[in-house]
């Protein structure tokens, strides 16, 4: 019994200290983000490269996935709405569920799978190779050079790609609203415009920003936790990715609570 309690206590302490560390670094980085002096030429170069790798290189895959998943999703949603006789709520369901909930979630999963894992590995390899030491020796601040450009890239990428996903879904909706409800383009446009609220847009933006922030912060932090042994790389990546998925769930739950308060 005592052993079980000790185990629970230890786990709780570990989780709370991880959470405290993550939140305190998030706060420090957030403050640093608004200091224009940190955006030196080197930091800007990293930012441009990161945006290219995360948002531009992924575009063909992302567009393809958006068209396939988005069209299927909207087709199923419209058919279900028709079967349940909820046609008058179509716009609200489309904006409130598909655009503000599913779009960011699918986008963040794709970016996490592709870019967060890459960042986690990149930083862990840098740690193992002593390259982090190089940055320290040349007085290059790790937060400014490693964290900031990647985190800003994360925020920009999730916000933009999530918007792109929403646009694809709404555009697919034109076809499916015609096929399933026999709705004209004008009627569909009015339905969408009437269903969009400013509060939804703000929550969507904040949620995407939070996703972008944490799916980059956590992998970098976990990458830095690697030791000098090669075998620590997969362990650092594994821990990082698990923590990222937990963070995604927490942000999703918090945004749902915020929406329904």
């Amino acid at each position: 019994m005592t052993a079980v309690l000790e185990h629970i206590g230890r786990r709780t302490l570990n989780i709370s200290s991880t959470l405290r560390d993550t939140l305190s670094s998030a706060f420090r980085i957030l403050l640093r983000m608004f200091d224009p002096r940190v955006y030196t030429s080197a930091v800007r170069s990293v930012l441009i490269n990161q945006i290219y790798f995360t948002s531009v290189q992924i575009l063909p895959l992302f567009l393809g996935a958006s068209i396939i998943v988005g069209s299927l999703l909207i087709g199923i949603v419209f058919q279900t709405i028709k079967d349940l006789g909820l046609a008058e709520y179509t716009g609200r369901i489309l904006m409130g569920f598909v655009v503000t909930e599913l779009s960011p979630l699918i986008t963040v999963q794709l970016i996490t799978l592709r870019s967060s894992s890459a960042m986690n590995t990149e930083v862990a390899v840098m740690k193992v190779n002593n390259e982090i030491n190089t940055l320290r020796v040349f007085d290059i601040d790790l937060v400014n050079y490693l964290f900031l450009p990647r985190i800003i890239n994360g925020i920009i990428s999730v916000v933009l790609l999530s918007s792109l996903f929403s646009i694809v879904v709404i555009t697919s909706g034109i076809l499916f609203s015609k096929l399933i409800f026999g709705m004209s383009l004008d009627a569909y446009t009015i339905l969408i415009l009437n269903s969009a609220t400013f509060a939804d847009a703000v929550i969507l933006f904040l949620k995407c920003s939070a996703f972008g922030f944490f799916i980059t912060l956590i992998p970098i932090q976990c990458g830095l936790n690697a030791t000098n042994e090669l075998t620590s790389i997969p362990i650092a990546v594994l821990h990082g990715m698990v923590k990222v998925f937990i963070a995604i769930i927490i942000i999703e739950v918090l945004s749902l609570i915020l929406r329904f308060i």
Partner: protein, 141 residues
């Protein structure tokens, strides 16, 4: 005194196997990084400067290569050029033969440093005593 120490500390610039090149940056970017970060030098200008220095060693062809693709001598030169990007650099070369593993010529280090001797203020080389012969010196401490 403390200010002088801090100022000197800022100018210390290491060339060491423990301070490797950043593997996800090209050779020119490794060299340019120091000026880009500390002096906010524009990327194009910093690249031009890095390539100008590489030309001194006849290494302009490796500008777009990455660390693992370099020979030991090329890697040493790139590390040296990165170090002299620090303003008024005080070079600290730590066990150079850990980088130049197969180098036989005992004048290599002198010759390499001579090419860029206008770009640093002072230079200190630290090595193990059993490498004394490679420096052609008898009073190494």
């Amino acid at each position: 005194m403390a200010e002088l120490a801090a100022e000197k500390n800022e100018r210390l610039s290491w060339v060491s196997a423990n301070v490797p090149l950043i593997s996800n940056l090209d050779v020119w970017a490794n060299i340019a990084l120091i000026r880009q970060y500390h002096e906010n030098m524009a990327a194009a200008e910093a690249r031009r400067l890095a390539e100008e220095y590489l030309r001194r060693y006849g290494l302009e062809g490796i500008s777009s290569k990455r660390g693992p693709a370099l020979t030991n001598e090329q890697r040493f030169c790139v590390m040296l050029l990165r170090a002299v990007m620090v303003r008024d650099a005080i070079l600290i070369i730590d066990q150079p033969y850990k980088i130049l593993i197969y180098s036989k010529a005992d004048t290599y280090l002198d010759d390499t440093l001579k090419v860029i001797d206008d770009s640093f203020k002072e230079c200190y080389i630290f090595d193990l005593t059993w490498n004394r012969d490679r420096y052609r010196t008898t009073n190494a401490s």
